[in-house]
């Protein structure tokens, strides 16, 4: 059994988690071009090596960040998303 260290639930079977994909910078909601959105949504780095990804612990719906190696399957560290996302995205500015 492969274990994933969840920042709030501790070590759990990895089958309790969903991988949400690479952490990428979202295009600006107001000014992002179609090209930028297509790349953000569909195009992947698909890195062979160390990646930084969104993961969710399904039973508790808790999203966090995991760094892991996609060649060795080693999970290097996990931490709350708030460690890197300091500000909420403000969508209200897009009302135009």
């Amino acid at each position: 059994m492969k274990l994933m260290p969840c920042p709030i639930n501790g070590l759990r079977n990895i089958s309790e988690f969903i991988c949400g994909g690479e952490v990428e910078t979202m295009p600006d909601p107001s000014t992002g071009s179609d090209q930028e959105w297509a790349e953000y949504l569909f195009i992947e780095n698909n890195t062979k090596g160390v990646v930084r990804e969104w993961w969710m612990h399904t039973p508790t719906s808790y999203w966090f960040i995991a760094e892991r190696n996609t060649e060795t399957e080693e999970i290097i560290k996990t931490y709350p998303a708030s460690d890197i996302f300091k500000q909420r995205v403000d969508f209200t500015q897009n009302k135009s």
């Binding site: 297509a38 195009i43 992947e44 062979k48």
Partner: protein, 413 residues
């Protein structure tokens, strides 16, 4: 046992025909370099030589011949897809497959058995009807069947209502088949090699050379070579190789596992798939049950096997065929599947001039080997993307024009 076989068995030398020439040196230049010596790369080389007379071609394979996903798949061939674009494309492949043994003069053990996609929910029944209609409209034989007919088509299938997910019906696709995957690759390799194509194994592509935005050469672990055109056909390593060329793909590399049981007497002649239960099974000509499931839950460049995969697979398989509970597993393995978000491939031109791609074959690309070969050869030879594969171009993601095949490809392979 015939005496000659006995003699052969006890002999110290086991002469067998080579499938391709063993070449010592790379030439300094080729018209076409194909990166990846799996089924797709070899088929393209074969049709380049056979249909277009282009023989100054090198297939470069970093490992041994066709040891990637071509060697690891469960060999299901079918054309009962969901989108008209998909159905047309895979149907051309089936037609090529049906004549391949004759064309090669080499037996690929093509075995037409019929294919059942079981439905356990209203939603799955709806998808079955949808697929049947699209298929029939395009002349592909598919029909929705109900439990009474299923009992005849697959007498051992557990049709009891007293299970967690009772079977409501199925999509029946009589042309569904399996073939010997290695023989397909070897047949293409031999046919290409006989016509002058060079196949270099243990030759890894490590980079490319460019001039004014066009590719003009390939770097390998055995030195640099010049080339007119490049085709990349490297499946699980698609993103890594395209990065060497300078562009990214809508692909995640995710393991797909499979396993076979010990051999038993024939009892299952049809291929059985359940998308809802994430299981598919067929019985090989050796008597083994060949089994698989959906791809792994997260991306990984590794071909390890897991217990979770087998636990889930067996849990569902036992519901369909309870009596296989006593069978032992014989082998397990995995391949790295190049998964696209819409379960359709990425084929055709790329942002780099003279650099072509055949990727995004995920869990479903063995059946497409012949059609990829002919159509990629046509693309390279004519510099024009044939209409049949136009819908699969990389550009579709930038136009938000995906080709959703999830309903027909996610577990069905």
């Amino acid at each position: 046992m015939p005496f000659s076989l006995l003699k052969y068995g006890f002999s110290k030398v086991h002469p067998s025909e080579r499938h391709f020439q063993n070449l010592a040196e790379l030439k300094s230049s080729y018209d076409v370099v194909i990166v990846g010596g799996g089924g797709h790369g070899l088929a393209t080389a074969y049709y380049l030589a056979k249909q277009w007379g282009i023989t100054n071609v090198a297939v470069l394979e970093k490992g041994y011949l066709a040891g990637g996903n071509t060697a690891r798949n469960t060999a299901i061939i079918r054309s009962n897809y969901l989108t008209p674009e998909g159905v047309r494309f895979y149907d051309e492949s089936i037609k090529l497959f049906q004549n391949l043994s004759n064309e090669f003069d080499y037996n690929i053990l093509y075995s037409e058995r019929g294919h059942l996609t079981l439905a356990h929910t209203d939603a799955a029944m709806r998808t079955s009807r949808w697929r049947a209609e699209v298929n029939k409209h395009l002349g592909v034989n598919s029909e929705v069947v109900y439990p009474d007919e299923l009992a005849k088509l697959c007498p051992h299938l557990n049709l009891s209502q007293k299970v967690r997910y009772p079977i409501m019906g199925a999509l029946h696709h009589p042309p569904g088949a399996i073939a010997r995957h290695d023989a397909v690759a070897w047949g293409y390799a031999r046919g290409a090699s006989d016509r002058g194509v060079e196949i270099h194994t243990h030759t890894e592509v490590t980079g490319f050379n460019f001039e004014n935005g066009r590719v003009i050469g390939v770097k390998t672990n055995r030195g640099d070579i010049r080339c007119g055109k490049v085709l990349q056909a490297v499946a699980g390593l698609s993103s890594e190789v395209s990065k060497l060329a300078g562009f990214k793909l809508p692909i995640k590399s995710i393991p797909l596992q499979a396993c076979v049981s010990e051999p038993v007497k024939p009892f299952l002649d049809i291929i059985v798939v359940s998308g809802s239960l994430h299981v598919y099974v067929s019985q090989s000509s050796r008597g083994e049950l060949v089994m698989g499931s959906a791809s792994d839950p997260y991306p990984l460049y590794s071909t390890r096997s897991t217990l979770e995969f087998k636990e889930e697979l067996m849990m569902h398989l036992l519901e369909l065929f309870p009596f296989v509970g006593k069978l032992k597993l014989l082998r397990q393995w995995a391949g790295t599947a190049d998964m696209t978000p819409d379960f359709s491939p990425v084929m055709g031109i790329t942002p780099i001039q003279n650099y072509y791609i055949d990727a995004g074959w995920g869990t479903w690309g063995f059946k497409a080997t012949p059609v990829c070969g002919t159509r990629m050869a046509e693309t390279l030879a004519t510099d024009k993307v044939p209409d049949l594969i136009k819908p699969f171009e990389l550009e579709r993601f930038y136009r938000f024009d995906q080709l959703g095949e999830r309903g027909a490809a996610s577990v069905g392979h």
